[in-house]
């Protein structure tokens, strides 16, 4: 009856040792860890931003803006292609999530349909009388949005990496969201400014006639001036630019902050790839002595006049920048443009020493609570109380070890989950010991009483643990943020308690009883 096979004892001890080894890094100071040989596990529990401080930003990628842009491209394409095919049309434009056009002659409708179908892949064309409607298919829309979000996440990563932040977490969430977590960062406004800029750079020629009002001639558009005003010289408030993009910013291979050799003011030097260089060269050859506008996010940074053809594929942007502005602009250009603008849905910043008070208070409270449990268990169950306290300590150790090994994050609600897990672990020990007393009161001698208590209590412990575990798992799957943090530690704590409060406790109790062979039950 009271017998543990040797292999079982060895297995249990091995698990205990492994648990301790994996839990140790979490409570060892970093200095000591660094001096240890590399084969010792060194992963410690990751603390959530609420415990270690940092910035949490939830962003929404405006995927609809990209769809709108693609539709605009279709409109532009339709304008030129229909004209080429000699098809007369009216009312060409975007309506909601589609492009529609009316064809003047009914015999042209079929031909127009073929022309429009060639413009973009993944579109679906509906014909109603003389009206053609072009829209993206569901699948194509999903593909476009998916690509936009993952590309955005990649650009966000590049930009954040350039700032030199340690251990950033960048995750896609849902269909159109990106979650950014930056431990230790507490200047959210700078990060937000970096991410809020699309950094889409294009080079345009100016239209021959500069429009006065908001309306621009066909093929042109009005762009505001982003030029910083120099003392005594006023820059124009806006420019009328040709729609055609001469060179796009994605042809850039490098951008660095530097200083203009003559004036000494901060500028951004850039270099194009081969195709970009030849486009840039061709444009400058054909347009000597005309202004060439550099547009960033629909604002003209500067519109210098082309003095001579630039063939090398490199140039510089001067926009009366400060050194910091030149640095940030070159960072943005290097990392590339965001395919779509982002909006911030949620921001949480925790300062480095928040909470140092509240966390200190929380720790004190937990230690006092824990000591109360230890003392009362000892008072109530004597030697077996010590066993229970060892089991509790093991439970805490294993919970930390598993969290460290799997890279789970410990948050404030997570600590609440840990406390509930501990309460369930104490309960398991109490159930077993109270059962021992019952069995002993019914006249059983020590050995059978201990044995029966473990057998009987096991069912109860299993049932109550599984019930709570089910709740924990469902909360993890369907909950969000803090609720999940809670569920993880709770679930791990409960699973561990099956080992620490049942198996390990059993081994310790049995060892005690078979070693000392007491005449009366020690509880």
């Amino acid at each position: 009856m009271l017998y543990f096979p040797k292999w079982k004892v060895i297995a249990i001890l091995t698990v205990v040792v492994l648990g301790i080894v994996y839990a140790l890094p979490s409570i060892t100071p970093q200095k000591v860890l660094d001096s240890l040989p590399s084969w010792v596990p060194q992963r410690s529990v990751t603390l959530g931003l609420d415990l270690q401080g940092g910035l949490h930003l939830l962003m929404h990628v405006e995927v609809d803006a990209v769809v709108k842009e693609r539709l605009d491209t279709i409109v532009e394409g339709a304008r030129s292609e229909l004209r080429k095919a000699n098809i007369l049309y009216r009312n060409l434009g975007t309506r909601g999530q589609a492009v529609s056009v009316n064809i003047n002659r009914t015999e042209d409708v079929q031909r127009a349909r073929e022309v429009l179908a060639k413009l973009e892949t993944g579109t679906n064309i509906v014909v109603e009388g003389d009206r053609l409607t072009v829209a993206f298919t569901e699948q194509a829309l999903r593909d476009i949005k998916g690509a936009v979000v993952s590309q955005s996440a990649e650009i966000v990563r590049l930009r954040i990496d350039e700032t030199g932040t340690k251990d950033p977490t960048i995750q896609r969430q849902g269909d159109d969201r990106i979650l950014l977590q930056l431990p230790g960062v507490n200047d959210p406004e700078r990060v937000k400014k970096l991410l809020n800029t699309t950094a889409k750079m294009t080079f345009h020629l100016l239209c021959d006639q500069q429009a006065e009002g908001p309306s621009a001639p066909a093929g042109c558009f009005q762009a505001a001036s982003g030029e910083t005003q120099r003392d005594g010289r006023s820059a124009p408030t806006g420019y009328t630019l040709r729609r055609k993009v001469e060179v796009a910013g994605d042809r850039l291979v490098d951008a660095q902050p530097s200083y203009d050799q003559r004036s000494g003011e901060p500028v951004v030097s850039f270099r194009f790839d081969r195709q970009g260089a030849s486009q840039f060269g061709a444009t400058t050859v054909a347009n000597v002595n005309k202004p060439f506008a550099i547009v960033l996010d629909n604002k003209v940074i500067s519109a210098p006049v082309i003095r001579e053809p630039i063939m090398g594929g490199s140039g510089q942007i001067s926009g009366n920048f400060t050194t910091k502005e030149a640095q940030d602009l070159s960072l943005l250009l290097r990392a590339g443009a965001l395919p779509a603008p982002v909006t911030f849905l949620e921001e949480r910043t925790v300062g480095p020493d928040l909470g140092s008070d509240s966390i200190y208070a929380g720790t004190v409270a937990c230690i006092i609570g824990y000591m109360l449990i230890v003392v009362l268990m000892l008072a109530a169950y004597g030697v077996f109380g010590i066993v229970a306290n060892i089991a509790l300590l093991l439970n805490l150790t294993f919970t930390l070890a598993i969290m460290a090994a799997f890279g789970a994050t410990l948050t404030l609600p997570g600590i609440a989950g840990m406390v509930l897990g501990l309460a369930m672990a104490v309960d398991a020990n109490v159930l077993i010991y109270e059962r021992m007393r019952e069995e002993s009161d019914r006249g059983r001698s020590v050995f059978p009483a201990v044995d029966a208590a473990f057998q009987r209590a096991y069912g109860t412990i299993l049932d109550s643990n599984v019930t709570t575990l089910i709740a924990g798992v469902l909360l993890y799957i369907f909950g969000s943020g803090p609720v999940r943090g809670f569920a993880v530690t709770l679930a791990i704590g409960i699973i561990c308690s099956m080992f620490t409060s049942v198996t390990a406790t059993k081994l310790m109790c049995f060892a005690w009883v078979s070693w000392l062979k007491p005449k009366v039950l020690p509880v």
Partner: protein, 313 residues
């Protein structure tokens, strides 16, 4: 070993828990109705997590002139603002109502940072847009409903549908009165409180399962015993464990409430109420309800037998 530890109970008690069950039902129903009424009329004091808006905890090295800060922030015209000292006179807690949409919210927090200036260090800034707030409520509600259904299904499978139903009613009773208490007292309700409510549910169900387990065991041992007595016996037999475990949890929750500081107060308060309600509801809600459900079942069986039909379980 001379030292054997103290016994919290000298012997198994022989109390009748049904003596006051009608009074207890009345109290429970009153508490639940009061909670629902308060929730319907007063609502919950939702924190930034759910209502959206801005929460800033800031610190200065010198004592803060609250009136000055209030005047500066009010001048920004951001709507409803609450400003209070937080813990000590160098710390403030500022809450600003939801600004309608995310962009306005981010603009508002930037303005506040500029207005307060560099004298302040920001210990905690939370800006939650209305979209996220709504989703957080939805997610929390879905997660809790599914967790409760899962618990009920497991208990129905392991014990009986009566046990499952009674257990879930007891949990609902505990959670509802906790949320109701937050509504009546106007305490702030945020995601940490949700974690507390879920902890209460977990604790309450653990307690109920332990007694149900004993009921199941005793049903096999004492086949002819009256169900009401059987429940009494089971509750009495597990009373020592109930007092010990729940007493330990109660003490550590008290420690959290007294020493845990302002950030954990809401959590600790909810847990304290939950431990008391959970212990009470297991004995005075779940157990009698199981008896009622079983008694109705038996009447049904007797009626069927009287008509000469085979009885079904």
């Amino acid at each position: 070993m001379a030292f054997r530890g103290f016994r919290i109970l000298r012997a198994v008690p022989s109390l009748d828990y049904f003596r006051f069950h009608k009074l207890c039902f009345a109290i429970s129903i009153f508490l639940c109705v009061a909670s629902v009424v308060s929730l319907a009329t007063r609502g919950l004091n939702f924190g930034v997590d759910f209502a959206g808006g801005i929460l800033i905890e800031a610190r200065k090295t010198t004592p803060i002139d609250l009136a000055d800060v209030r005047a500066k922030v009010n001048a920004l015209n951001l709507g409803d603002i609450s400003l209070q000292e937080f813990g000590r006179n160098t710390d403030i807690l500022l809450r600003v109502q939801s600004q309608g949409d995310e962009k306005a919210e981010m603009a508002a927090v930037q303005k506040i940072r500029e207005t307060l200036g560099t004298e302040f260090s920001y210990e905690r800034v939370e800006v939650v847009g209305p979209r996220v707030g709504k989703e957080l409520i939805r997610d929390a509600v879905i997660a809790i409903i599914l967790a409760l259904s899962g618990i009920m299904a497991y208990m129905a499978f392991r014990f009986s549908w009566r046990a499952g139903l009674s257990g879930v009613v007891a949990i609902l009773h505990d959670c509802l009165t906790t949320v109701g208490l937050f509504s009546i007292l106007g305490l702030q309700f945020d995601l940490n409180t949700v974690a507390a409510v879920v902890t209460i549910a977990g604790f309450s169900i653990n307690d109920t399962v332990v007694i149900d387990d004993r009921i199941r065991e005793n049903t096999r041992l004492y086949k002819s015993m009256d169900f009401r007595e059987l429940i009494n016996l089971s509750v009495n037999q597990t009373m020592a464990r109930t007092l010990m475990t729940n007493g330990l949890v109660l003490l550590s929750t008290l420690a959290l409430l007294i020493f845990g500081g302002p950030l954990l107060f809401g959590l600790a308060f909810a847990l304290l109420w939950g431990v008391i309600a959970g212990t009470y509801s297991t004995i005075y809600v779940a157990a009698p309800m199981e008896w009622y459900l079983a008694a109705r079942g038996r009447k049904h069986i007797k009626a069927s037998e009287a008509e000469g039909e085979p009885s079904h379980s």
